[in-house]
Structure formats: structure tokens, C-alpha cells
Amino acid sequence: MSGVPGGGENPRPVGVLEDEAAVEERLPGPGARRITWRKLVFMPAVLAFVLLVTWLWYEGTDLDSVSRNSLAGGNMWIRLREHIWLTAVSTFFVLIIAIPLGILLSRPRFRRVQPVAMAVANVGQASPSIGILALLVIWVGVGMKAAVVGMTIYALLPVLANTIAGLRTIDPTLIEAARGIGMSQRGVLRKVELPLAVPLILAGVRTALVLNVGTATLAFFVGGGGLGDLITSGITNHRMPVLILGSVLTVTLALFVDWLASLAELLLRPQGLEVSR
């Protein structure tokens, strides 16, 4: 039977009483409740293997002066650090803008503005990121600032949409129950609505993070640095090793960030939601 709150309209057939044994089985074991051993090890192992293979291949290739120039002075590490920094900072701004905005837009007072705000956020997502970046250069000038602003606009939508969806999909009878037992508006939001919306919000954050790792490769075009530098110089100079190094690092970083976010999703999701009857 469905045990979803509010979905229990159909009474169980007579005689099928409280099934204690079956209920017992659904109890999660203590400790190893969510993160499985395989989940913890598999992705890092694959990524480490990819990096190892790339490194062995890279060691075995003869680099000419152009390639060496591209990577001189620890350029690879500098670009990798820039890339991570760009991703982290733009995601930070996405979080502090999109989550509060999503909460605000789901309050009854602002619910009417919701479609408008979503349409604006959609424009940010649908327009090509390189276009946004180019326009921003005209406005804020060349540099990391333009890159961070552009990436933030680009990744706003998934978090905003998921925050709104997460709050909207909560069973209204639960919210009424919360008000009915005497919670204040803020209490309902803090103790009931937000915790229940956490899984969807986190899914949005995960999407935004991965998007940002990808978009950060374009930051190079507006002087923002990042691994885009390696990729571009590899293409323009026809130097495969540089191009491949930049690409492999970007992909590995994206997958690694996605893996970290998936762990965060499992850890931060409120208990009690995954056990379903």
C-alpha cells in the first residue's frame, strides 16, 4: 500500500493488519545506513586510474618547445587552481542568491511573481554561456569578475527551480498540520518545509556545480583563467598533449565534484525520508 502522507485514501483490505515483521525489515541498519562501501570507493578509483594513465602517456610523449611553453612555470597547477576557485566562488554565489530567492518566491505573497522570475532564470540558462560572458565583458570588463558573474547567472536556474519545486511538492496537509499544532510561519519553514525540500535543493546544487565546472572552461575567453587556457592553446597550436591534458583534467574535476556532491546529498538529506513503506 502507499504510505505517502495524504496518499492513504485506500484502506487496506480487511485482515491485512499491522504487519510488524515487514515494518521491522524496513528499519535501516545503524551506521552503514546510506553510504555504501562501493559508492565511496568506485568513482575515486576510476578517476585515479584515468589520471595515472594520462600521466604515464604524458611522460612518454616528446614535448616540443611550444608544448613546453604552454605548460611552463607550473601553468597546469595554476590553471587547475583557478578552475576550482572559479567553480567554488560562482557556486557560492548561486547558493546565496538562488535558495533565498526560491524560498521567497514560494511564499504565498510572492507566488504570483514566480513565473516571471522563472522565465528570467530560464533566459540565463537558455542563452549560450559564451554569449553571456562576452556581453558581461562589455559591462564589467575583462577578468575573473566577469567569469564569476557569468557562471553564476548561468547556473542559477537549476538551484532556483529545484528550491521552488522542493517546497511546492511538500504535502499541503503536512504544512497545515504544522500550523495546526501551533508553529509560527518561520517555524513551519525552518522545521518542516526546508528539511523536506533539502533532497531536491541538493540535487539542484549538484547540477549547478557540474555545470560550473564545464562553464569555467570558457572563463579563459574573458580573461578569467582556468583549464580553458590549456584546451585553447592546445587547439590553436595544434598540440594534442596540451589539449588532452586540459580536457582530461576538466572531465576528471567535473566527475570528482559530482561524486563529492552525491556524498553530500546522502549525508545532508534528512533521515526518515528514504524509508518508504
Binding site: P13, L17, L174, I181
Partner: protein, 353 residues
């Protein structure tokens, strides 16, 4: 609101005065001028078809829905204008499908209201344990469970425990047993009656199930569309003489059979003295007349023994004694109901004069 403590009654009186609700965008009121007085410690059942606005009336008592007009008094205090959040913390609220928060454990759910009104940690812990025991759930076993690890009936018990946790004088229940299977529902109803004998809260219970209303209610309000009161009386009186076609339609067929549930064998006049004839079936004196009828019908000799608490035989019922007793009973109900109707008609005339 002051707690009323007389004769073990911990409930407070509730008075609705000309309560009306018109929802925005509709011309007809959903609740049209309802006035009711609910005695302290009474279990009042509001019953009516869907769309009769019974839930709206209930939600106006704790102001989840703000009335358009009229007043609500709880223990003689006008609560129509006070802070609704504070008001709701003093009113227990239990709803269909329990309304438990799935991300909180059973204990956290029950502790919510006591924490909100500022009880200290030890008092809250002790209270949660007490409440779990009260609703028949072993605290050690259920304390840390999440609602989705419980069966529907268990969830509903926790829902009642949460509603009672801060010891409110008034308890509002909105079809709380609507989503559980019939057997579990019957046992939850029995539990509620047992709790109510102990606690004597003022309970307003909303249901669309007339049988549930008969089983639980000290008095029943039958509501028709727009929450107009069709009849407000004891279950016996409503069964014996429905005020009009609407009520008798709602009572449904078999009123006399339903009436059997309301009387115990113990109260039956005319249980014959034991005459030594062999009797196959036996009945506890606490059994209802319906149980007695069942026993008589299934006994080969058509007789059943009535036994006392220690198993001693008090007498024998058979079809003839049962029929006679039921006839007398229904006759008495009818007379009482007619008397009651006459009285209320007279008081209305006096009020109008």
C-alpha cells in the same frame, strides 16, 4: 485560557456563536451561521456529507481558517481575536493520515508542542514517554523510529499522542481514522474512548462516517450543506427519531441494529434467572446487545448465558427476551426524543417571543 478541573474533567467548554465563513471568490457561505455549545469533557462528533463544511467549522475553532463573522469562546474566553499561534499551542490537533513529519522521529514529533511552549528537556522527555505508553506504544521500541517505519494505525496513535502532548484542554480531530483499515479503525476508536474516560478532554471529532459518530459521540451534530445543523442530540435520540429525511437518510438503514451497539447486556432489563437448562454460548455482561444477538442467533438452542466478571452465570438471554428488551428500549428512546424535540421547540418559541 484557564484550565477547568472539576470532577476529573480536564476539558474546557467551547461555544460557537453565529460562526460564518465565506471563502473569497464565492457568494454562498461555506459555513452559514452555526451556533453550538460544547460542554467541558464532552466528546462531540460533527458528522455530515462531504462539502457540508464540517472540517471548516473545526478549523475555525483553532483559526486555521479565520471566520468571516461570529465568535468562538473557549472556557468563556473569546479567542476570535487572540494570536492564532499561541491559541493553537493550547489546542490539540489530530488529522487524517496522522500528519506526522516524516523527517522527525516519533519522539521528536511528540515533543514538538511541549518544546514550543518552553518545557525543559527532562519534562519533555518524561512526557513523550508517558504519551507513548498512553497510546499503547512501547517507548523503548518506538522512540527513535521514523513515521514511515510505522503502520498506518501506529502512525495514527502517534498523531493522537502528539496532539495530547502539551495536555491541551481541547482536542480537535479531523477524520483522524479515515485512512486506516476497518479493523484498525475499530481498535483506534476503542482506544480513543478509553483515553477519553481517563482524560475527559473536550473533543470535537469530525467524520463522514455515521457509524463512527454513533460509536464515539456523547452527542452528535448532523450537518447539512453550509454547516446548517440538521440535528444535535445524543446518538440514541438521533437513532430513535431522526429530525427529518436528511438525517434519516444519513442514519441509513438498520437504525435498530445500530442501536444495539449502544446498550450493554448488563443494562438489559429482563435477563431471565438461570433455569438450569443447558446453554452453549456465554456472554460477558460488558458485551453489547449486538454481540448478544449474534450469540443467540448462532446458538443451537437460541440461548446464551450472561456471565459476570468472575465467570459466574447471571442469567440467560434468548430471542424473546432480547426482542422484548429492544422494543422497550426503542420505545423509551422515541418518547425521550419526542420530549426533547418538544422542549427545544418550546424554548425556541420562548426565545422568539
Amino acid at each position: 485560557m484557564p484550565d477547568v478541573h472539576t470532577d476529573g474533567v480536564s476539558g474546557a467548554a467551547i461555544t460557537l456563536e453565529h460562526l460564518t465563513k465565506t471563502f473569497p471568490g464565492s457568494t454562498l457561505p461555506a459555513v452559514d451561521d452555526i451556533s453550538l455549545h460544547i460542554e467541558p469533557g464532552e466528546l462531540l462528533v460533527m458528522v455530515g456529507p462531504s462539502g457540508s463544511g464540517k472540517s471548516t467549522v473545526l478549523k475555525m475553532i483553532n483559526r486555521l481558517i479565520e471566520p468571516t463573522a461570529g465568535r468562538i469562546l473557549i472556557a468563556d474566553e473569546d479567542v476570535t481575536g487572540i494570536d492564532p499561534v499561541g491559541l493553537r499551542r493550547k489546542i490539540g490537533y489530530a488529522i487524517q493520515s496522522s500528519g506526522l513529519f516524516p523527517h522527525m522521529t516519533v519522539a521528536q514529533n511528540i515533543a514538538l508542542v511541549p518544546k514550543m511552549i518552553g518545557w525543559d528537556k527532562e519534562r519533555v522527555t518524561a512526557r513523550v514517554e508517558e504519551m507513548l505508553t498512553l497510546v499503547g506504544l512501547e517507548p523503548g521500541e518506538y522512540w527513535k523510529r521514523f513515521p514511515r517505519q510505522l503502520s498506518g494505525g501506529q502512525q495514527q496513535r502517534v498523531g493522537v499522542a502528539r496532539a495530547l502532548a502539551a495536555d491541551p484542554p481541547v482536542l480537535l480531530m479531523d477524520e483522524p481514522f479515515g485512512a486506516v483499515d476497518p479493523i484498525t479503525r475499530a481498535s483506534l476508536q476503542d482506544e480513543l474512548l478509553r483515553l477519553q474516560r481517563e482524560l475527559r478532554k473536550t473533543i470535537v471529532f469530525v467524520t463522514h462516517d455515521f457509524d463512527e459518530a454513533i460509536r464515539l459521540g456523547d452527542r452528535i451534530v448532523v450537518l447539512r450543506e453550509r454547516s446548517r445543523i440538521a440535528q444535535f442530540d445524543t446518538p440514541q435520540a438521533i437513532l430513535a427519531s431522526p429530525a427529518d429525511d436528511f438525517v434519516s437518510g444519513f442514519v441509513g438503514a438498520g437504525a435498530a441494529l445500530k442501536r444495539l451497539n449502544l446498550t450493554r447486556v448488563r443494562d438489559l432489563a429482563g435477563v431471565q434467572a438461570a433455569n438450569g437448562a443447558p446453554v452453549g454460548r456465554s456472554l460477558a455482561e460488558d458485551a453489547t446487545l449486538r454481540d448478544a444477538l449474534e450469540a443467540v442467533l448462532t446458538d443451537p438452542a437460541g440461548r446464551a448465558a450472561v456471565t459476570g466478571p468472575d465467570g459466574e452465570r447471571l442469567g440467560v438471554v434468548d430471542m424473546a427476551s432480547l426482542t422484548a428488551a429492544v422494543h422497550d428500549m426503542l420505545q423509551a428512546d422515541r418518547l425521550a426524543a419526542e420530549e426533547h424535540l418538544r422542549e427545544s421547540a418550546e424554548s425556541r418559541r420562548e426565545g422568539a417571543a
